[in-house]
Amino acid sequence: MNKMMMYAVAFCLIISIGLTGCQNAANYDNTYHSETDYPYMFHVQGAGQSIAASNNGYYFLNGNFIYYTDKTQMKPVLLDNRPDSDCLTATEPNQIENCNAYVKIEDYIGFLAYSEEKVYTIESTSLLGENNESAKRMELIERSKDGATRKSKLTFDFAPESIAIHRGIVYYSSRDYSKSSELDYQIKQFNLKSSSAKSKTIYNGELPEGHILDIIPYGKNVYFLESAKNMYRTMRYDIQNKEISRMFSDDDKDNPSIGGIFNNQLLFSYFYGDPDDEKAWIQYASDLEGNQIKALPIKTDFMQNLYASGKYIYVRPVWFYMSLEKYKHLKHEMAVYDEQYQPVDQLDLSFLPLDHQLVVGDDNYMFIKYQENNTSYLQYLNKAEIGSGNASFKPLIETPAG
């Protein structure tokens, strides 16, 4: 009997060692893998990600609901496999919340990601607190790609300011205060594939009134924007070496920020505090470590936001300033450049309200989200139309705002 036990234990050990050995080695290459990597082209500055692409289609978080559409059709349906569910027309809160596609976000900005055939959202929940009290928390929820199953992967004490999923790891920024109101902010990482994983801090911020925004992982790097009063800086975390470094400039007055990633290069710009400063109008490119900096041959007459995806680069005036009388003459248009930085099209964006999100998207479509009259709108632009002179945004989804 004892021998049998020994054999059984030895067998289990061999199997577990074998399984451990079979685990994927961490990937530290600097090329983009659409299945596992953070879809940087769906990142929205300050707002993170609320649209994600799978091989065949797109997932959208619009209002409080998740939609899915195939790329070939662009006819979205709710991510709910129940034809008997009528959550969009229901009026009772419990009927709405019973919808499989419903995401309870409350005051949170919303997050939706797709990674390795799973859909991720952040949802508000009530849990039993430390002292038997009912505590409100946020949870990272993982759904199957058809929304048929779900499970909670991670609980946040405070809603993350920025979050990204990259190669099986969640990177998120956390910000909270002690009882004497001393601020702590940091970036943490959490391994989605480990059942016993705990969040681990990879960077502790030290700037007064600091925030960490715009976490954008790419290859073996995690880029993030660290902001404080009257300044911000771009930082890089090297996943392989576990090192943090400051990028593009050490001067607090330069305020560099990444606009996009294009052909394995970082596109970025500086802001010196004055939008009329022509130096701030120049766009730059660098390698993934922030070296080999060179100015892009894109001529503009004002400070621009830059986006990049597929074979195009998109620039438009920083629309925040366009609400000012001084800049009313600027047209809210988006110029499209090809890989040789030659203009190929001009898109009209004048219909957009001041508060909106532009998602540059993948090779196929660009998206725009905004709210008006208590309705969340999502529109798309077919990039195949770029250059034809007929490229324009078309309505895709209208959802009652949450």
Partner: protein, 808 residues
């Protein structure tokens, strides 16, 4: 048959259950339902005949015509209500804008209203507006149902047009294909309006489920445990028909009694519902009622009611068979009680915490609480993912109930016949005995108190509960620093500045801060204008704007602070009390945390009762009480020491459950306002005694301690009355635990009519604030305590004859 008769006889001759517990619980069941309905629908109940006359008017017309007329009527009467309200001299901005809209859009209705009967008869207007809204909502529900069912196939086709739902062999695909087919037969059914309050409210009565569960536990005790406790089981088992025939008879009686009681309890709710509301046209399909919109069962209201009753009966019988297995398998009342509590606790957790889409959702649906929810089984269509196949929840439940029912019956019979546990000699008890003998022997003094403590905590295993309480207490201690979000941190900063009595400096600070918030839009405009005029650069413009935005981040915290400020101002004006700013985050954590209070009180009561209910019964179980009472210290001394041990236990568990909150408060929050008047905290504005926060906390703590000693006192008295551990657990649970669960379920008024208030004193002071109320409540408790103490003492001396079966 004779065996069945004897088993029946055993139950129906128990005066306590037949004459006391069942009638009491039946009255509580009906009373709670009645009170709840009165609270919610008093107006409708008072005018139910008038409602039916109103409804009849519209039933006689075609549905389209009636719906159209009602739509117009509701609109018109709504405007009349506004006009009438305005005519009463009320003034507020919302009313003003409504009046403006009426004048603009429907000026003709103003004249029409003046000439109508409603202008001089507010009651008639109120009644007709209410009735028309109610009937119109029924027509709307029917109209919406038509499009809901009619468009189901269209929705399914849309879903199947995308690739994620097209994979054949997946749950999603099968569910999308199956659902429209399941609703196909409902496309063109005839739907009729009718009042649904009676049907819907009587379908949602979890209190009935809970009370029946208690009675089933009681039946289980009399049928199974009583014979073990008296030792008569050994005699029964040696008889020719002492095994399978006896257990078969017991199970039949248990099932039959459960069925009967379920019919009486659920039937009584129906009767009350029928009397209050009526059920409307019983031959209409349930889909006529909005609450049944998602049901795919083509049944009428009367069929639904019968199926509901059948479902409840089956579930109750199923629960009774689970209890039978526990009663047969386990030998000790506290083990049975704890095991069943654990089972129900886990089931409830699974029912509420598991998401319908979780991989473990079978544990949510194959679950006692899910089965008890017969309304959801019949009224809500939901397919469960069973290895990729959509199986209707109702089918899963029926199969699970019947399969497990058979398993439980077979288990119960086999265990009774083959392995009936009387004195199990399993590994764990042996180990416990060894540990007990080695480590917990009485050494030195053989004082009665020491000996009784040894009996209570080691022989009776009360130490396990005390250790459990200590573990729970330690687990509640929060050694980590409590963290705050930005709004709360800003609020904490404000409080650091303003902490203490409201004086002129603080008033000036509040006014200045308010002024700054009020001027924020104009300051933003000024900056904008200065920028437009070229007076400031773009960099200065963005910097100044950003400063204002940072200031604006304080708004949420200031709103909270301002509310407190207004409260303190009002407090000073109305009562002359000069209150202080008190950190509301901390005070809410301690004083305004209903969920925590309820959960702690439930936990405390359960732990306490399990400990107490064996103190006296253990001496009666083996008859040693007769010997003890003959000894020198066997009367009052023994009696008093047992009570003392009970009190000590109550104090210890209370410390473990309640003290961590105070530790967490002091460690985690900025709370240094202990000397402020308690009225500084808004929820305690009505407390009518001049007392500071620390004095209030001590007062409530002392009252809570006194209350828990009274609870202990009464629980011990009850256990002495019934003299059996299992029975005392049941009886004390009915009196102390069930009301807490009922209050937890939302029936708040039960607080002052039960012992619950002992554990909800913060809520009580927040609700009334009058110390006289608390004094009256505690006065009543003291009277109960004195009476129960006297009764217990007499019972202990055999001077009180209560519920005892006459010895032949």
């Amino acid at each position: 048959m004779k065996l069945i008769g004897y088993e029946f006889y055993k139950i129906i001759t128990k005066k306590m259950i037949v004459l006391l517990i069942i009638p009491l619980l039946l009255m509580a069941n009906g009373g709670l339902y009645f009170k709840e309905q009165l609270n919610e629908n008093a107006y409708l109940i008072d005018n139910i005949q008038a409602y039916y006359m109103f409804e009849q008017n519209y039933k006689e017309r075609s549905a389209e015509q009636a719906a159209k007329q009602l739509e117009e009527l509701v609109y018109e009467l709504g405007i009349y209500s506004t006009l009438l309200y305005a005519a009463s001299g009320q003034e507020n901005p919302a009313l003003k804008s409504q009046l403006e809209a009426i004048k603009q859009n429907t000026p003709e209705l103003i004249d029409k209203f003046s000439n109508s009967v409603y202008a001089s008869n507010a009651e008639l207007l109120k009644q007709e507006f209410y009735f028309s809204t109610l009937v119109y909502s029924q027509y709307t529900a029917i109209r919406e149902y038509r499009s809901y069912v009619g468009e189901m196939q269209k929705r399914a086709d849309e879903m199947l047009s995308v690739s994620i739902f097209q994979e054949e062999g997946t749950f999603s695909y099968r569910n999308i294909v199956k659902t429209p087919k399941d609703f196909q037969h409902l496309q063109s059914i005839a739907l009729n309006i009718g009042l649904d309050n009676g049907i819907v409210s009587s379908s949602h009565m979890p209190i009935t489920d809970m009370l029946l569960t208690v009675i089933i536990f009681l039946l289980g005790y009399y049928l199974f445990l009583h014979e073990k406790e008296t030792g008569i089981i050994r005699l029964i088992r040696t008889n020719k028909k002492g095994r399978y025939p006896v257990i078969a008879a017991k199970l039949i009686v248990l099932a039959a009694m459960t069925t009967l009681l379920a019919i009486i309890f659920y039937g009584s709710i129906w009767m009350i519902a029928y009397q209050l509301y009526g059920f409307g046209d019983m031959s209409r399909y349930i889909q006529s009622i909005a609450a049944f919109r998602n049901s795919h069962l083509l049944i009428t209201v009367s069929e639904y009611l019968w199926l509901f009753m059948l479902g409840k009966v089956v579930v109750c019988v199923w629960v009774s068979m689970i209890f039978a297995v526990f009663f047969i398998r386990l030998d000790h009342a506290s083990k049975i009680y704890s095991s069943i509590l654990l089972l129900f606790g886990l089931s409830y957790y699974g029912f509420v915490a598991i998401h319908p889409l979780s991989l473990f959702n079978l544990m949510k649906y194959v679950n006692i609480f899910s089965f008890y929810d017969v309304f959801a089984l019949l009224g809500v269509y939901r397919n469960i993912n069973f290895w990729g196949y959509p199986i209707p929840n109702i089918s899963v439940s029926i199969i699970a109930i019947f399969v497990t029912l058979v398993i439980f019956i077979v288990m119960a019979m086999l265990m009774y016949a083959k392995h009936y546990t009387v004195n199990p000699q399993t590994l764990l008890p042996n180990l416990w005995n060894q540990v007990k003998q080695k480590w917990f022997r009485i050494q030195g003094s053989i004082h009665v108190l020491n000996h009784e403590m040894y009996k209570a905590f080691f022989t009776g295993k009360g130490i396990i509960i005390l250790v459990l309480a200590a573990i729970i207490g330690l687990n509640q201690l929060n050694f980590d620093e409590i963290r705050f979000d930005e709004d709360d941190a800003i609020y904490n900063q404000y409080l650091d500045k303003l902490s203490g009595e409201l004086d002129q400096d603080k008033i000036a600070y509040m006014q200045e801060e308010k002024r700054q918030f009020e001027q924020l839009p104009s300051r933003q405009d000024n900056i904008r204008q200065a920028y437009e005029k070229g007076e400031i650069s773009t960099a200065e413009y963005t910097e100044k704007l950003s400063e204002l935005e940072i200031f604006n981040l304080k708004r949420e915290a200031f709103i909270k602070l301002e509310k407190q400020y207004h409260h303190l101002e009002k407090l000073r004006q109305e009562t002359g009390i000069n209150g202080s700013f008190v950190n509301e985050l901390a005070s809410d954590y301690l004083f305004n945390n209903r969920f925590k209070d309820m959960l702690n009180s439930l936990l405390y009561t359960l732990l306490l009762l399990i400990c107490l209910c064996n103190l006296f019964p253990m001496d009666y179980k083996n008859g040693i009480i007769a010997v003890l009472r003959c000894t020198k210290k066997g009367r009052f001394t023994l009696f008093a020491y047992k009570y003392l041990i009970g009190y000590m236990t109550a104090v210890f568990i209370m410390g473990m459950i309640y003290l961590p909150s105070y530790f967490n408060l002091v460690k985690g929050y900025n709370f240094n306002h202990w000397h402020a008047p308690i009225q500084s905290i808004e929820i305690f504005r009505s407390v009518n005694i001049p007392i500071s926060i620390w004095e209030f906390v001590i007062l409530v703590g002392m009252l809570q301690l006194l209350g828990s000693i009274i609870v202990t006192h009464c629980a011990l008295a009850l256990s002495l009355m019934v003299r059996k551990q299992a029975l005392s657990l049941i009886v004390t649970s009915i009196i102390f635990v069930i009301p807490i669960i009922i209050q937890f379920a939302g029936v708040d008024f039960i607080r002052t009519y039960s012992f619950n208030n002992v554990f909800c004193l913060f809520t009580d002071f927040a609700a009334s604030g009058l110390i006289q109320h608390t004094a009256l409540y505690y006065g009543a408790l003291l009277v109960i305590a004195i009476c129960s103490g006297l009764a217990a003492w007499n019972r202990y001396n055999n001077n009180l004859f209560l519920w005892r079966v006459k010895k032949r």
